[in-house]
């Protein structure tokens, strides 16, 4: 196809799993030094030849043996140690669209945690408040309630009903369960979960949404009931944190169902893996798996650095962790032997503070780091991320990808950034 005969050529065969772009299974001779853009135009030409209905100019990404082509083809083959004499099988997928910065929500203080649900975004801040925003960026509520910076927030039920519930954990060692009446736009603290002796750093709600676990700096993992009414609830007068905020309601104090100890340092992240299994990441360099029904620790994975965050994907059943070094690590909790760290993703320049899997795509996750950059990763590209999303001026403290079309990041510059991500073409 190419005119120049002197340059070395590679026999390449292209295939795809996306049926709308399928092309005939014939090998093509391409110059060895070809890059992604040339290959993309080549595919476009082929597609054009076969079917006129497809419009040209689609950007493709190319995978060789499950890894993205990021350098010229010959260099990639050389790095992989693949002979350029054989026919190279190249898978092509449509390139992930670039996230577009959409909104920036200004807070009064550092944004420490956030989560989105269908239409709303929940964020916790260092000014001891929890805020509710619409996805379009309008502030709905600012909820004072904690007496110390909020460390984690989670939607308990946010699916469109008139009453939404969410949980917040704070430095003041309490977890508050809130009820938000959407129409009245009023919020009510229904339960105060007391028991931790340190700041509550993470909350994880199970799939049935009737239980949640919390991890704290006091090294304890506690299981709580998330039901509206639970045993052992006690009436209590919630202290007003300040005199300005005169919210003085009757809240029920809830005590933990279960307390699990084992970690030797504070717990930084927790995730439910299945109905009864919980994974926790801690500052003591370990990932531990707990069985909540048997109330025991089932296994332990040893790392080398402090874990700052962890995310578990229900799609591929893998864990990605963020550590107090520059790396993200991919773990498979099901393997018991061999290399439990399946892959290391290195591109950040600072501590990686938070990480979140895509809710719809099993290959994608985002990470936020103290180097002020949020990165979109594909698991098949360990050396380079797909996209860097800069915009923050300070340490990113939290990222979230609960809403498939929105990438959220909260940072120490008091901003919560919203990035639009159009991933409809990859509905896998």
């Amino acid at each position: 196809m190419m005119a120049d005969e002197n340059t070395p050529h590679v026999q390449a065969k292209f295939f795809t799993k996306q049926s709308q772009y399928s092309i005939p299974d014939t090998p093509y001779s391409v110059p060895a030094a070809v890059g992604t853009s040339e290959l993309s135009s080549l595919i476009n030409q082929i597609l054009k030849g076969s079917d006129d209905s497809v419009d040209a100019g689609i950007e493709f990404d190319f995978l060789l043996d499950g890894e993205f082509l990021r350098v010229p083809l010959d260099k990639h083959l050389e790095n992989r140690g693949v002979s350029s004499e054989d026919i190279v099988e190249i898978e092509f997928v449509e390139r992930q669209p670039a996230p577009k910065p959409e909104d920036s929500l200004l807070h009064d203080d550092w944004v420490s945690c956030l989560q989105g649900c269908k239409e709303c975004i929940l964020s916790g801040s260092y000014d001891n408040t929890v805020r509710i925003w619409t996805t379009t960026g309008a502030p709905l509520l600012t909820i004072p309630g904690h007496s110390a910076p909020v460390k984690c927030v989670k939607w308990l039920s946010g699916d469109g009903g008139p009453t939404c519930r969410f949980i917040s954990g704070s430095h003041d060692q309490t977890i508050l369960i809130w009820e938000w009446h959407r129409e009245e736009n009023s919020v009510e603290c229904v339960h105060a979960c007391r028991g931790h002796a340190g700041s509550v750093d993470c909350i994880a709600i199970n799939e049935e949404r009737d239980k949640f676990v919390s991890g704290s700096w006091d090294k304890m993992l506690k299981l709580w009931s998330a039901a509206a009414v639970a045993e052992g609830d006690q009436e209590e007068q919630l202290e007003a944190p300040t005199k300005k905020q005169k919210i003085s309601k009757k809240v029920q104090t809830r005590v933990p169902v279960l307390t699990l100890s084992g970690h030797t340092e504070g717990i930084s992240a927790a995730e439910w893996l299945s109905r009864s299994e919980v994974c926790t990441a801690s500052w003591d360099h370990t990932l531990r798996l707990w069985d909540m029904e048997k109330a025991t620790q089932t296994s332990q994975m040893q790392g080398t650095k402090v874990f700052l965050d962890m995310s578990y994907s229900l799609l591929n059943r893998q864990i990605v962790t963020a550590s107090a070094d520059r790396h993200l690590r991919l773990w498979d909790p099901r393997t018991t032997d061999g290399a439990i760290v399946k892959c290391t993703y290195t591109s950040h320049n600072g501590w990686v503070s938070s990480v979140s899997w895509s809710p719809v795509n099993q290959y994608l996750f985002i990470s936020g780091s103290y180097d002020t950059v949020m990165k979109l990763w594909d698991t098949r590209s360990p050396k380079a991320p797909l996209y860097n999303m800069s915009g923050h001026e300070e340490k990113i403290l939290a990222v979230d990808w609960s809403i498939p079309s929105l990438l959220l990041s909260g940072a120490a510059d008091n901003h919560l950034k919203v990035f639009q991500y159009n991933d409809e073409k990859h509905g896998t």
């Binding site: 910076p149 002796a197 340190g198 006091d218 003591d284 107090a324 600072g350 501590w351």
Partner: protein, 788 residues
């Protein structure tokens, strides 16, 4: 040998016989004619076969031929043979007693066969005379078996007995047909003689005529064999008669110069040696007399002890004496350098000094001068004056030589790489902090001091801007800031902060100016903070204790109503002088404060539970830089400018004094085991002391370029760090082994850079995270940095 012996004997016999010849020459001369009767008959020639019988018969008649006889006859025959040539041979007669051969005799001789003579000669002169004779005799005995063997009764000394007439002149038998008698008394008939014509014919025809002689005794002709002739010729030319004898035999050295085990000579001792010596007898007599008179004392018998001690130093000789060793290790004196161009009487112009140079030379000290003379130029050698300093220089040279001992310099061949200690690679010593992770910003002036809470969640920092800030370690968030009121004392910079190490107490000690403030930060576990407050609040002073004692520091508690209480202030300790450092004991009840200018009160120990202060030292030992509590034992380390003193607080005594070798100690840290301390000093050094080993530094590290401001140990990891004014924090691996025999392993692993230098100050403090291998540092650039 044997052969030689025989010949020797033969010669001896010859000589003796010659003497005998001289003695009885006359009688022999009578007998001589008969001697030729002796003919050996064993080897007759074929041409003389006709005479065979007669010869044999002759033998039969005269069988008693003995050796002696043979010898004698040989002697005679020698003489004879020497005599026997007269005219045609060059043989001359020299013996008077030798026979003169008449023509008849010659005839007789000519008739005798050659081989007979041959045989005779063989018998006489060949080595194996006896054996040959025996052989022949055997032959004879075989032939004359019926006869008795003549040798049975014959002794070899007897004369020729073929003719028994004896030694008489044979002229006497001229008239008779016989010539004598044989041993049995039968006549020996003269052989038939031809006339002159026959003689002539014989002379003409017989080729052996010239060597034919007649045996006078038997009248038989004998032809001399070639050997006989040779013998005769040898005798005539005074050679050894036996032609076979070797004149130059191989030399066998009997009497060697080497000592032999068996003596070659074995002569008996001389008779003299058996006769007692007269002089010895005299001497013994004198000694006996002296003994009797008591002039001489007999030697005492040795006691047993003396005998037992009779042993020798076997290897004594191996040790060289001092003198010989010195001789052996003699070092020649170093040679004087040869004169150079500058010393020439007419040096090249470039060696001459210019005026400025000369002036400079004059102004220099004599020791500093490169040359101890001034080069000078003379047009000729004649004009060179006498060298004034000659004696001086010689004297100095002598002084140099004997005052400065010469020593051989042993050069060691060491690979410089071997001198570098084998240290593990830093990569193998992980974890240790490698990169900057978080910067804690907020202070507006230099941050002097930091401290981490025992759980590792919070960090407290004190700055020159008069504020104390509390930080969240993991995010870099400033959680709380307390600004001190700048009272009348003006600048209130925070000199030292220290978080109470006890996990159940939430207190921070802050040294500011002359006060030490105990602050409850209100961070962390609420229960702990409330408990701390309650404990402090419930304190009731016991009056009797405070009475009658000198009050070193003024304790005052802050009321809950006080505005400062909101900030967390709980207790104030007013000191008489400025406090530079506070440090907590490991249990969290005691803390010490340092007042460098406090003289005898420079160190105070405060007890929190009883709210009282003590002054452990009555006398000032110098300007105290810092103090530290031992982590497990009741020891207090007090660092002055030069020394670190270790006091036992229970016994109230000085237990150790460490020599730091530094000019000014700046900081000190003690290992969690308590046996090792490190000391940083303003002269850029960091010294590691092993208290069990020595009071001198086990190792000194000079990695910093500027003054070391702070040193610290990690509580769990084998790490220590030093902060310096050059803006760096150096992290070292410092492994202390439980094995007492193993020295600590110290490896510098990382230089952490990040702090900017301002006002010539770099990093002022460094603290390790209590559980992670992270180090915090604070500096003059108003920031605190976390390295992970």
């Amino acid at each position: 040998m044997f052969r030689l012996f025989i010949s020797g004997r033969a010669t001896r016999v010859l000589t003796s016989s010659s003497t005998r010849n001289r003695m009885s020459s006359k009688s022999r001369s009578k007998r001589k004619p008969d001697q030729f009767d002796f003919v050996d008959k064993g080897a007759n020639d074929s041409d003389s076969s006709e005479s065979e019988e007669s010869v044999y018969s002759g033998l039969e008649e005269e069988p008693d031929t003995s050796e002696e006889d043979q010898e004698q006859s040989s002697d005679q025959s020698d003489n004879d043979s020497s005599d026997n040539d007269d005219d045609d041979d060059d043989v001359t007669l020299d013996d008077k007693s030798g026979l003169e051969l008449s023509t008849e005799q010659r005839k007789e001789l000519s008739t005798a066969s050659d081989d007979e003579l041959n045989e005779i000669n063989d018998q006489r002169y060949t080595g194996n005379v006896k054996s040959q004779n025996r052989k022949q005799r055997k032959q004879i005995t075989v032939k004359t078996a019926d006869r008795p063997d003549e040798y049975d009764y014959d002794s070899s000394d007897e004369e020729d007995i073929r003719n028994t007439v004896g030694n008489i002149p044979l002229e006497w038998y001229r008239e008779y047909p016989h010539i004598g008698y044989d041993i049995e008394g039968n006549r020996l008939l003269k052989p038939e003689k031809g006339d002159q014509l026959d003689e002539f014919l014989n002379k003409m025809d017989n080729p052996n005529y010239w060597r034919t002689v007649t045996n006078k005794m038997t009248g038989q002709n004998v032809v001399l064999s070639k050997e006989d002739l040779g013998l005769i010729q040898n005798l005539q030319s005074s050679k050894h008669p036996d032609s076979m004898a070797e004149n130059y035999q191989p030399w066998i050295d009997f009497f060697t110069h080497e000592k032999m085990i068996h003596p070659v000579t074995n002569h008996p001792q001389h008779k003299r040696s058996f006769i007692p010596s007269k002089w010895e007898k005299l001497k013994v007599g004198q000694m006996v007399h002296a003994l009797k008179m008591g002039w001489m004392k007999p030697t005492k018998a040795k006691t047993e002890e003396e005998e037992e001690e009779n042993f020798y130093m076997l290897w004594k000789e191996d040790e060289e004496s001092e003198i010989t060793r010195r001789y052996r290790a003699h070092l020649p004196a170093p040679k004087m350098p040869l004169p150079s161009h500058a010393e020439s009487y007419n040096p090249p112009p470039e060696y001459l000094l210019t005026k400025e140079e000369e002036e400079k030379w004059q102004n220099m000290e004599p020791e500093e001068r490169r040359m101890n003379f001034l080069p000078q130029k003379y047009s000729s050698l004649r004009l060179v004056p006498a060298y004034k300093r000659f004696i001086n220089e010689r004297f100095e040279r002598c002084l140099d030589l004997y005052l400065c001992p010469r020593k051989p310099k042993i050069r060691m061949n060491i690979n410089p790489e071997d001198l570098i200690p084998k240290l593990p690679k830093p990569r193998d010593l992980q974890p240790f902090p490698t990169a900057q992770a978080i910067v804690y910003r907020g202070h507006s002036d230099i941050v002097r001091t930091i401290s981490v809470d025992p759980t590792g969640q919070w960090l407290v920092s004190g700055s020159d801007d008069g504020s104390v800030r509390f930080w969240e370690v993991s995010t870099g968030r400033c959680m709380k800031s307390i600004t001190m009121e700048t009272g009348s004392l003006g600048n209130m910079c925070i000199r030292s902060v220290a978080w109470n190490p006890h996990p159940d107490v939430s207190l921070v000690a802050i040294a500011m100016g002359q006060t030490v403030i105990l602050v409850n930060p209100g961070l962390g576990d609420k229960m702990v903070t409330n408990n701390t407050d309650n404990v402090l609040h419930s304190f009731s002073p016991t009056e009797e204790e405070s009475m009658g004692k000198k009050v070193y520091a003024d304790w005052s508690s802050i009321d809950t109503s006080d505005k400062r209480f909101e900030n967390g202030f709980r207790l104030l300790l007013q000191h008489p002088k400025e406090v530079s450092q506070v440090t907590w004991h490991g249990r969290g009840d005691y803390f010490a404060s340092v007042m460098p200018k406090g003289d005898s009160m420079s160190v105070l120990i405060h007890q929190l539970s009883r709210r009282r202060s003590q002054n452990p030292f009555n006398k000032s030992k110098g300007m105290v830089q810092c103090v530290l509590f031992h982590p497990v034992r009741p020891f207090l380390f007090v660092a002055t400018q030069r020394y670190v003193r270790v006091y036992n607080l229970l016994k109230q005594e000085l237990s150790k004094k460490l020599m730091t070798n530094c000019k000014w100690v700046s900081s000190m840290a003690v290992h969690s085991g308590g046996d090792n301390i490190i000391i940083g000093s303003y002269d850029c050094r960091l010294s590691w002391f092993d208290l069990d080993v020595s009071t001198k530094p086990y190792q000194t590290l000079r990695h910093h370029k500027r003054a070391v401001r702070a040193v610290n140990y990690h509580r769990k990891y084998p790490l220590f760090a030093s902060a310096s004014d050059d803006g760096t924090v150096i992290v070292c691996h410092g492994m202390v082994y439980n094995d007492l025999l193993k020295n600590p392993l110290i490896v510098p692993v990382k230089i952490l850079k990040g702090h900017a230098i301002s006002h010539d100050l770099g990093v002022l403090d460094c603290v390790f995270h209590p559980s992670q291998p992270w180090v915090f540092s604070c500096g003059a650039d108003t920031t605190i940095r976390l390295f992970t």
